[in-house]
């Protein structure tokens, strides 16, 4: 097991390097740079070329690509993301609060999705082809059909019209005022969590149905076990694996992918920062964000791999 974990852990490094090369090149293939983005005058007029060259020199954009890359890599190796090309502030400072917000939102939304998906999926499977099954199906497909930002707008309007109340619109970190923080984040978390529960609910249902047809479930029933025990001990542990994959990949995606929902709820999360970074051609910031999200993704994947091995003993010995 220890060897397995080490092997999976070491595989992360080359992947991250690949991501670094790719994002570095991709950003520079896009026309324009941060200097042009900043000094683009009204009506498309440029400032003087000299000024722009000076600016580029200050930011190190005049150096050859390989040099820029190695400088960046050297920084990364020291966990130093550098400074934002647009604001000039250290990137760690720029990201810190937004990362906290996005991580918390992703965690809350995933928790809600999981809490919806697993019980509903199991329920639909054991009540297959009854009204319960159909109700769950309608509920989850409705979730899939409604974009979460639209659901978010409906929520805000509903609260405003019915309760004459608006959730707080300014972000308060959890450690400053948990109550204020939750009052703001619970709504987007619900909207997003509901939407992302749909796929996992369907997956839970079909995986459960498949497992319930297995011979070992019949064996468990022949032993006279309670239905609850058959479901929780014998079926769930086998059926949960594909659901786990989906939930964790969604979770990793939610960290940086909630651009529109963040807009609706006036949240300054990583999604918004991403869009701004790209629009401003803020190479250093965008690169840092991509590396952050990629690391997060790989970490989640790693944890899922370990969880797989823990849940299914057959994997451990491969």
């Amino acid at each position: 097991m220890a060897f397995y974990i080490l092997k999976r852990l070491l595989a992360i490094i080359p992947t991250l390097f690949g991501v670094a090369v790719l994002i570095f090149l991709l950003l520079r293939v896009v026309p324009g740079d941060v200097v042009e983005a900043r000094y683009m005058g009204e009506g498309g007029q440029f400032q003087s070329q000299e000024l722009m060259q000076l600016e580029r020199k200050k930011l190190g954009l005049d150096q050859p690509l390989w040099k820029q890359f190695t400088t960046w890599m050297a920084g990364l190796a020291r966990l130093d993301f550098g400074i934002s090309m647009w604001t000039g502030a250290p990137i760690t400072e720029e990201i810190k609060l937004r990362f906290a917000l996005s991580l918390q939102l992703a965690l809350m939304a995933s928790t809600i999705a999981t809490l919806l998906a697993i019980p509903l999926g199991i329920l639909a499977a054991i009540k297959q082809d009854t009204w319960v099954d159909y109700a769950v199906r309608v509920f989850s497909i409705a979730g899939l059909a409604m974009p979460s930002f639209w659901l978010g707008i409906l929520m805000i309007l509903g609260m405003l019209i019915i309760f004459k109340w608006l959730p707080p619109m300014v972000f308060t970190p959890l450690w400053v005022n948990p109550w204020e923080n939750l009052a703001q984040l619970i709504w987007p978390a619900l909207a997003v969590g509901y939407r992302y529960s749909a796929v996992s609910t369907r997956m839970m249902r079909s995986a459960m149905l498949e497992v319930l047809r297995e011979d070992y479930i019949r064996t468990a029933r022949a032993k006279g076990l309670w239905l609850k025990l058959i479901l929780s001990r014998h079926a769930l542990k086998n059926a949960i694996l594909p659901v786990l994959t989906i939930i964790s990949l969604e979770f990793a995606f939610l960290l940086g992918g909630l651009v529109v929902t963040e807009q609706v709820f006036n949240l300054n999360g990583l999604g918004m920062l991403f869009v701004e970074g790209i629009a401003r051609r803020d190479y250093t910031l965008t690169q840092a964000l991509v590396m952050l999200v990629a690391t997060f993704f790989l970490t989640v994947n790693f944890v899922v791999d370990i969880a797989y091995a823990w849940l299914d003993p057959r994997i451990r010995y491969r």
Partner: protein, 332 residues
């Protein structure tokens, strides 16, 4: 001896897209205490469905026990509530399945699967259940049980897994074990070991057994009494010795002739039963075996009842049973 299990006119049906299938069509048979009874027949003749009906594990909504009675120790299992039936399963009647490779849960340790039945039926404390599990593994011939208990099914070979299945079945001291083709999925050499093991254990512990098989060799060695099934019905009932010496139904005769025998000349031709097992959705009128039968007479379009042929309880469902008796003596 008292009747432990008495099945009366059991009928189990399955709704399929091509119509209602009577997988088990009004069969009656019994098992006495400590006795080994065999249910023999081709694939799809209703043997396994009979066993699953006793356990009430027929999958709804397609499968349904339509009518009949299943008396176990005087109680009709078909009249028990679901909860009462759950208490019977595993503790009084246990089952060993055909596929040892898929019948054990791959993600739970063998120990877990051995002890959970005891913990549920008898509220056995974990330590005591573990001790019993070790004892059971030893009984079924698994060496080094201490090391084996925390292992998972994929660490065991097919034969070993079937031993574990047997240990699981014995865990709660049941009075009856239903063994559904317990050796079909195993190598021939292992088959004999498993059957010996089951016979010895059933004798030692006084457990009655129902062995479901298509293998007449198994029947001859291990069963006291035999029920031969064809197309959902029992067509012949006798003690194992009597059935071999004096088969009275053409189908039984056919089965016996299609088994190679060591006491015959080596190049003697096997005599297979012509034709295919019947399609249960389109059974011929009368005797279901008549299209394949060498002894067919005009009366076969009426279904023959299962009637006793002698005082010892040898029964056959064939109009020509009397003539077959002489025929089989000639060929045997």
């Amino acid at each position: 001896m008292a009747k432990l299990l008495q099945v009366n006119h059991l009928r189990t049906t399955f709704a399929t897209s091509t119509g209602l299938v009577r997988a088990v069509d009004g069969v009656s048979w019994d098992v006495e205490e400590g006795e080994t009874v065999a249910l023999v027949g081709e694939s799809g003749c209703g043997k396994s469905v009979s066993a699953l009906s006793i356990m009430r594990l027929i999958a709804p909504p397609a499968g349904r026990i339509e009518s009949g009675e299943i008396f176990f120790k005087g109680r009709d299992l078909l009249r028990l509530s679901d909860e009462e039936m759950r208490e019977v399963r595993g503790s009084e009647i246990a089952m060993v399945f055909q596929e040892p490779m898929t019948s054990l849960n791959p993600v739970l340790t063998v120990g877990r699967q051995l002890t959970e039945g005891m913990e549920i039926h008898y509220r056995t404390q974990p330590a005591a259940a573990r001790a019993r599990a070790l004892k059971l593994l030893e009984m079924v011939g698994i060496s080094d049980p201490e090391r084996r208990l925390p292992q998972y099914p994929h660490h065991f070979s097919g034969g070993m897994r079937q031993r574990i299945m047997i240990a699981m079945a014995l865990a709660c001291n049941p009075q009856l074990i239903l063994a559904d083709e317990p050796t079909t999925a195993l190598d021939v050499t292992i088959q004999a070991q498993i059957l010996e093991l089951m016979r010895n254990l059933s004798r030692e512990l006084g457990v009655a057994m129902l062995i479901i098989t298509h293998n007449l060799g198994v029947v001859a060695r291990y069963a006291d009494r035999v029920n031969v099934m064809y197309a959902g019905r029992i067509i012949e009932q006798a003690t194992a010795a009597e059935l071999y010496a004096n088969p009275r139904h053409p189908y039984t005769l056919g089965l016996l002739h299609s088994v190679p025998r060591l006491d015959e000349p080596r190049r003697a031709r096997l005599d297979p039963i012509e034709g295919q097992p019947p399609d249960l959705t389109r059974l011929p009128p009368g005797c279901a075996f008549q299209p394949r039968c060498k002894y067919r007479v005009e009366r076969c379009v009426e279904a023959p009842p299962l009637v006793p042929l002698d005082a010892a309880g040898h029964c056959a469902a064939c109009w020509e049973a009397a003539n077959i008796a002489s025929a089989s003596r000639v060929t045997a």
